[in-house]
């Protein structure tokens, strides 16, 4: 996979889904970029397809990431998203198989292969431990292990989900980076998931719905930087 982007760990994911308008998305991207530079932390930043061009044009450090794409090749495919179009818009990665956009196993595999062809990193979601192991077999760059029932709740898993699924992925392929972000809303939450083995964390509603984006991003990025600098504490 020559050209596939790489990420330094631990990293942040900022995933505004469909919460923000284009101007707000750009504003969040610029703020994230400023703070990511300050803390020297890599960031996966997703955006609606229609916003990608503007975010890519005005930032340089973020891993610009599409929220979905299809396995089509240039030609037909009305209404479907051509991977090459996202690359041309500036995307370097794509999230696939999110609980809000589940794919068949065959579609997921085909779309991941298209991502490789166009040089995009793949960030693939999975729910149960078995699903995490299954997705790990498909060769993603990054995985988001996320118990579907927790999405958007602001409450982290109280059991052993985080260490169990992180370990499961690494057993299948230790090179896959694992994001644990379900219910994460603070820097302390991020420190907890990193201690349990995750390579990255972040969020959606925990960030976009915060009263002050800067406050929450500083909280999260400083937790990531502190763990990077002293992971054993």
């Amino acid at each position: 996979m020559p050209g596939t982007p790489t990420l330094r760990t631990p990293f942040l994911i900022v995933n505004p889904k469909a919460y923000l308008g284009g101007a707000e998305t750009l504003q969040l991207a610029l703020l994230t970029e400023e703070l990511a530079a300050h803390y020297d932390i890599d960031v996966i930043f997703t955006a609606q397809h229609a916003y990608l061009v503007e975010v890519a044009k005005h930032t340089t450090r973020l891993l610009i990431t599409a929220q979905h794409m299809d396995a089509i090749t240039p030609g037909r495919g009305m209404g479907h998203t051509l991977p090459e179009a996202l690359v041309e818009a500036g995307a370097k990665a794509v999230v696939l198989n999110h609980a809000e956009f589940p794919l068949t196993l065959a579609q997921l595999d085909a779309t991941m292969r298209r991502a490789e062809e166009v040089g995009m990193a793949t960030i693939v979601c999975a729910d149960t431990e078995r699903q995490c192991r299954a997705v790990a077999q498909l060769g993603p760059t990054v995985m988001i292990c996320e118990p579907t029932a927790s999405i958007g709740t602001g409450t982290m898993d109280a059991g052993d989900y985080i260490e169990r699924t992180t370990r499961a992925v690494k057993e299948v392929d230790p090179s896959i980076l694992v994001i644990q972000a379900a219910g994460v809303t603070t820097g302390a939450d991020i420190t907890r998931v990193l201690r349990l083995g995750a390579d990255g964390s972040g969020g959606t509603s925990g960030i976009v719905a915060a009263p002050d984006w800067r406050v929450v991003l500083v909280d999260m990025l400083s937790a990531l930087a502190a763990f990077r600098d002293a992971p054993t504490h």
Copy 2:
């Protein structure tokens, strides 16, 4: 539906689907705009979501049209396309229920209502005469009547499909504009469908796969202008 865009008939649709890269799409849009101005013909021009911003920024006369969108409202909806995002990118209309992206009846209805809320025109596809009548009941701005089996063949329907489905739509609601474009590749094809009652025509492969875009666009636009100026001949 205040703010819904209007179209003067007869009009052209240029629908490059996923055939073109972003730079090529913009080039086709600029050429279409130049020729549309010359012939004073309205044009529906579609693009991949990621290209909409650029096409909208550099053109003024085209009805910038998305190739799909979802019925979501701001919030969750990872991987789905927010109507407000398309509007902010410059889209004024959206194609729905294309044979390559069929929707459930409930989704189609919900997405059309979202389009009304954000002031976008809806261009809805249907196959059989019954499906055309059904879609007409949902209140689209424009319909594309298209026998699914003919898409991309370059061969027009040899029977009475064109007049029959156009009449069916108008019987349900005479204000709906009807596009007949299946198999259309020349100005003569366009003249034929306009004589049979269509309000507009155009194409995908008939345009993007032509050896010289200017030649085919001139052929089509001059046919539209000639029909407009002397519809009975």
Copy 3:
């Protein structure tokens, strides 16, 4: 459509969905048959595909109805339901486009045409008034107008949904029979929807979850018989 079954109005629908085992379904069918004979009321009775043979073998008066089928013809179609298989099992009708199994417009049309080919009546669901008008254009035998949000709530629509959607269907095609059953749990509820124009009513949870099936079926069937015998009261 020679051979399509007919229904005398007003009629009952008993739709156990996936609530009951096969033995319970057969028991409910036999009880329904006994009471339907007593009140001389026609009944649409649905069952899981795997139960159809047994229900059809042991009853004679019920309109045995499948809960879904696919538009496939004999051949491939692993996991999909062949219309001919349902007919051979004894089904005379099929429910399509239920909110729990929504179909694309093209699939719905194709499946209805297959139903005609094999001589099955179609009972097609729709939600909003626009969707009701759209489905009516496809030529169903019976429609179930049902606001999706009310399914399984035991609460009837408090506004004008019932008369408005019934009238909408009849305006498109007066020969279509209309079921209004959302939130219906008693004979009084059935009387109300019949007075508002419906041709039939019945339910799922209102029947299968009732403490005594006989009590609720007698209540519903006697309301239907009373309305039939004196519709103006």
Copy 4:
């Protein structure tokens, strides 16, 4: 998984999909049972849901198998297939994720867990080597490794697909039984796939479209018996 059925290897799969009517399906089942007894070979026999009861009633040796089911529990789920209904009809196993009915990874996992709850064996299909490894992580009883492009062609893979995917599955979990049946139409084809590591084989069109079912079944079953009795030759 107490109660999950077991299979002696090598075994046959007879999968008539939607090719046959109910009476023909029963006839094929009875013939298969007679010949399976003669050769003492275990057989997976699938049928349309509506035919399961009759096939189960009239046979004793076949592993009666549904062609799909849904992850629903008793309750709602109009049009979906309740696992308990299939068990009550006599099914002991279910095929999932066939190329003609692909499932999302989350649905597939959930349906496999439901199968375990009701004591059914799972026979899960996969296409590429990566998909085979992914499905193996979900814990199926049996897998059908099948290059989607070969289905129904009557032509076997000319490369190393068979040994490569069989080995991939066994590496993940050696207890999973592997069917290789794409393009298999003769006993010689079956011998070839068994020699390459498969535990079972069989077919659809290779059997149901054969001019004489008895001839093709004898050919296949005798090849299975010969391999069982002298696997190294």
